[in-house]
Amino acid sequence: MTEVLLHVENLHVSVADTPIIQGISLEIKRGEIHAIMGRNGSGKSTLANVIMGHPAYEVTSGTIHYKGQNIDDMEVFERARAGMFLSFQYPASIPGVQVGTFLRKSVASVREEAPSPREFRQELNEAMKQLDMDRSFLSRYVNDGFSGGEKKRLEILQMLLLQPDLALLDETDSGLDIDALRIVADGINAVAKETGCLIITHYQRLLDLVKPNVVHVLIDGKIVESGGPELAIKLEKEGYDWADALV
């Protein structure tokens, strides 16, 4: 039986006493790709952030289980070490911290056994080649002065190196040109077979390249419809007005 990685049950989330998510239930198994689509402000990023454990979000009711374990009390770094990964919509810049140093320390933190410098260098070279990234990236400061596309590539590079069991990808396709989108999609597909993926996106174009098993439509903090890839095509053609009636 395929392992259930993420089980969200009737989740309610508030930010500064304002309800954002109002009763979401969701289950993602290993090897599955789920896409969440919705208007701006519908709660998509909140869902990704709360699953990852962002302290600004308060779970007011409901549960999140990861690999069968309730993760309410797990700190964000413990979730990362347990195999959860969030590709941020707006990754923070860390001036003064070189990408190479950051990647090495992240990999050492997440893996039970840190790779040798030689093994790490080899892995890094392969992943960077896959994403068509120049080695000069490694001496730059994390996300400092990066273009939108460079930030997203760095997020996917981290995903390849950290080898998560559950990947949450928050608008990873935004800011990417067509070529970069294809490269990033290849990166996602490379890990998707062994991983559970939750892709948050506004556009069909990423889902043309990364085929979702399930597409969810999120309106006002609730999943109002779930279906196959055809649902994304319908949204692309018709927008969200039809989904309002389902709330």
Binding site: E75, V76, F77, A80, A92, G96, F102, V142
Partner: protein, 344 residues
């Protein structure tokens, strides 16, 4: 020349002595002039000449005091040179005057070591016409030491000068760093990184004086304050009326890691010319929560993530140094220092 015992001890109403009164950094009783030893100064790469003490300009109490206790001046030969100077201070009270004169291009790192009760350091220099000098100063004095540092730098026509300071050592430090841009097209870049921990008290006063047109200066002070440490950064930027087309900026940034730490950042401008660009900024803040969350989401614990942000904040102080030699030396020493602290 004014004698120290005839000089008036400045009151705390003076900008320069407001946060660190002279009485707190004098080696004993302010009414005395103690016997002071010379520090051991050596270099494997640069030629050092010891000459009779060359007096400092006597405009303030610290310089007047140092004029009376210093015995000698060490002249660092720094033309086309690249290297390190080590100043080792030990004993009760120690003082050193280093003079650098550069007419070509040089990159020099000065290391301060040792466990003196009190250390007086005077740094003077001329960056002559068309010359390029980059100097880094790394303070790794013992955590019990008190240091008084005074600098007087003259940057001449078409010369460029970089001055970087990494302040990690000493218990109580007072630095009064003055630079004058004496010729047209003179350029100054000054970078200071302060790591405040324990009960360290670190006071940097930086005066930059633009006396000629088409000169530029840039100052960045980044201070991290942890535990009960206190960092002070006061700037005094003066642009004379003839110094048109000057471009000058000062930025003071403080990262506060503990509720008991304190930081002051006070840039002051006196602009007498009208065709200039002059800016200043100051900010004090705790750790950015989004940076912390981002690093923790990559598996780093809160302490590890905080250490990485602190290291980055301080390393970034030296990013804009043109000299690879000085930048790498500063960043390497900083990283080693922080790792040693993390290990305990």
């Amino acid at each position: 020349m004014t004698s120290y015992l005839d000089a008036i001890v400045p009151s705390r109403s003076e900008h320069l002595w407001r946060y660190t009164p002279w009485s707190r950094v004098h080696p004993g009783n302010v009414d005395t002039v103690p016997e002071v030893d010379s520090a051991i100064v050596n270099s494997e790469d640069l030629k050092l000449n010891t000459v009779a003490f060359e007096s400092l300009s006597t405009t303030d109490i610290a310089r007047i005091f140092l004029n009376e206790i210093m015995h000698e001046t060490i002249v660092v030969s720094c033309d086309d040179g690249e290297g390190h100077v080590h100043i080792h201070a030990g004993g009760h009270a120690v003082a050193t005057h280093l003079h650098l004169s550069c007419s070509t291009a040089s990159n020099i790192v000065i290391h301060l070591h040792g466990e003196p009760d009190w250390f007086g350091l005077a740094l003077t220099g001329d960056i002559n016409a068309n010359a390029r000098l980059s100097v880094g100063i790394i303070n790794e004095l013992s955590s019990d030491s008190v240091m008084v540092r005074v600098d007087d730098w003259n940057v001449h026509r078409d010369a460029s000068f970089e001055l970087a300071t990494l302040s990690m050592g000493g218990h109580r430090n007072k630095s009064d760093i003055r630079s004058t841009l004496l010729g047209t097209n003179a350029s100054l870049k000054q970078f200071i990184a302060v790591h405040g921990h324990g009960t360290r008290h670190d006071d940097h006063h930086i005066e930059i004086h633009h006396q000629q047109p088409h000169t530029n200066s840039h100052l960045l002070l980044n201070a991290v304050c942890d535990d009960r440490s206190h960092s002070i950064g006061t700037g005094s930027l003066t642009i004379d009326d003839i110094a048109q087309h000057t471009d000058a900026g000062q930025v003071f940034r403080n990262l506060l890691l503990s509720p008991s730490s304190r930081a002051e950042a006070i840039p002051e401008l006196e602009v007498l010319a009208n065709e200039v660009a002059a800016s200043h900024g100051a900010a004090s803040a705790p750790i950015n929560q989004e940076q912390l969350h981002y690093l923790m989401s990559r598996g780093l614990s809160k302490d590890e993530a905080t250490s990485m942000i602190v290291e980055g904040f301080l390393v970034d102080s030296f990013t804009d140094l043109d000299s690879d030699h000085v930048r790498e030396a500063m960043q390497t020493r900083l990283t080693v220092h922080l790792e040693c602290q993390l290990i305990g």
